[in-house]
């Protein structure tokens, strides 16, 4: 945990510097404006567009340095903790849940939300939760049916359906 604390503070410190650099970016349509011209007061316009994010990012950088000092002086709980940042269970959980979510997100682009929900629920309940096929099918299908009627039909919020779109056209004809 101690190493994770300082590595994170350093990474967030670099990110703060990136944000400061990015805040001072001149508008693309006016290449003559120098970088960081927008982080102070502009005559007749008040503070420039980069004023607020630049100085806030600077405070973020100062905070990261402060976190680093606390780490060196062993003043924060993670800086004195001997526990691992993630134990083997945590790594395995993050991997399986993360892969499931990643798969769900990719599937939304291919077979839409409803197909994705079905596959994700089966993956999670059957393979991670070790529930029987009966309860898995019941919950998964019920969730798809409820979501369709709540979002697409009642709330008129059309969720993406990907390649499964043609399957829903008869349902629209029936209920809309």
């Amino acid at each position: 945990m101690r190493r994770a604390e300082i590595v994170t503070a350093v990474l967030l410190g670099f990110f703060s510097v990136y944000l400061m650099w990015k805040s001072g970016e001149p508008p693309a349509w006016d290449p003559d404006v120098p970088r960081f011209a927008n982080i102070g007061m502009i005559d007749g316009e008040g503070p420039g567009s980069g004023f607020w994010p630049f100085w806030l990012s600077a405070i973020m950088l100062v905070s990261c340095v402060w976190i680093g000092i606390n780490w060196y002086r062993k003043k924060s709980p993670p800086s004195v903790s001997e526990e691992p940042f993630l134990d083997s269970y945590g790594k395995r959980t993050l991997f399986f849940v993360g892969m499931g979510l990643l798969g769900f997100l990719i599937l939304i682009h291919i077979i839409g939300f409803y197909g994705g929900i079905l596959v994700f629920m089966i993956y999670y309940m059957r393979f991670l939760g070790r529930h029987g096929w009966g309860i898995t099918s019941l919950v998964s299908v019920s969730l798809v049916v409820f979501s369709f009627f709540f979002f697409d039909i009642a709330m008129r919020i059309v969720l993406p359906k990907g390649y499964l779109e043609p399957l829903f056209i008869p349902l629209y004809d029936m209920f809309l």
Binding site: S49, T93, L101
Partner: protein, 509 residues
Amino acid sequence: MEILLSLFNGILIALEPINLGLAVIGVVVGLFVGAMPGLGSVNGVAILLPFTFVIQSFTGGATSPMIFLAAIYYGAMYGGAISSITLGIPGASTAVATTFDGRPLAMKGMAHVALVAAALASFIGGTVSNVLFTAFAPLLASVALSFGNPEIFALMLLAFATFVGLGGDDIPKTLFSICFGLVLATVGFDIISGEPRLIFFDITGFSHGIRFLVLAIGVYGIGEMIWTINTSRYGSSMSKVDVSWASMIDAMKRFQEAWRGTLIGSLLGFFVGILPAAGATPGSLMSYGVTKMLSKNPKEYGKGAIDGVAAPEAANNSASTGAMLPMMTLGIPGSPTTAVLLAGMVIWGLQPGPLLFTNQPDFVWPLIGSFYVSNLVAVLVNLAFIPVFLWMLRMPFTILAPLIFVLSLVGTYAAYMDMFDVWLMVFVGVGAFFLRILDYPVAPAVLAIVLGPIAEPKLRQSLLLSDGDFSIFFTRPIAGPITVIAIILILLPLFKVIYDKIKGKPAEA
């Protein structure tokens, strides 16, 4: 006396069978729309606005349609707390602060206490705001108008100041979190100069900015769920939920502990709700911060304080009535939902503004009467449904967890109809999980992303007015004291460190 008579007549009209029926339907619809992640009162009111034309064709006036919409508004305000407490996903932005303590209470097997506290605090917040609305509408509208840019920025500064202590004692991490949220709120196009800002790696999805619910659902839906799975090791830590009558009565008794938060939320929420461009979300977050600051046990907040549920819930209901005030008396909507209601009033041939109370008393008083009736209906319906909501928590965790993941993804898409936001939400959630392991508080970042888009323009417009002179925040009669109080609060942890050093105590980080 005249006001009381008008109100009494208004309540009688609101209690007519057709209007009462519409209020009940509106509350139930609002409750479910509000409880659904990603959807809030604005969705319910906007989607059902066309339906009110059907109501108008039956009833003939604008009163019944408006009662229906107001009931949806109330129901949604109550409903937002349900998913915040039971699932840990904020049902709407107005219920984010409810998650801070509602979720820990549910994790301790005390979801019924949190749900009852939310319902009763909402009722009290709604009632207090209705009384203030009835008695002081024109006066309060003029007070709200006296709040210019420096005053509103000072108020935002005060909100941040109350939240400095939100993340515990780690000041640099809290400071980082607040500033990070504020910077994320600037992503997209600058509304003053029109220049693109912080479009990370030139990804076009960032051009519309990082939306509030993306961050809130990511942090509290995905991040919280991964955290729970990691710490509970798949054991259901919420299975002890008790749904008996005795437990409900006990929960009502325990609500006495929440009087302070309820009172602060009711009053502060109403006032923040009145302010143009503020609304219920800042109102609820500020009430949470102030209640925590004034509490004798601030360390209990975030771990399951009943006051931490009551304050934001009283505030968001109170603010929802408060936001109606400038809409009806000045024609200025205080929130997106009241903007839709304003559109409805205009479509029905009404002219919101200072003359509405004198020219259209037969519309105004039944509407105000319906606020009282809807509020009562909402608390009764909400209390009746609590066993149904608690049933969700009895599900095995291996069913509840994927359900929450699905609702988080669908809710984010439903809110903005953009797949980029869904990807970003998951990314934010995983990032929040890692930061939480290292004790970075995420709640201040959530507050900052709500208040950032309000605070920045107010700061810049104020400095434009003063020609870059920061003394504008100190020299004005309202802004000055608020700014000074905010600065003292911000510096309070530093004073404490210095005091501890002098006293020879070991200083906290």
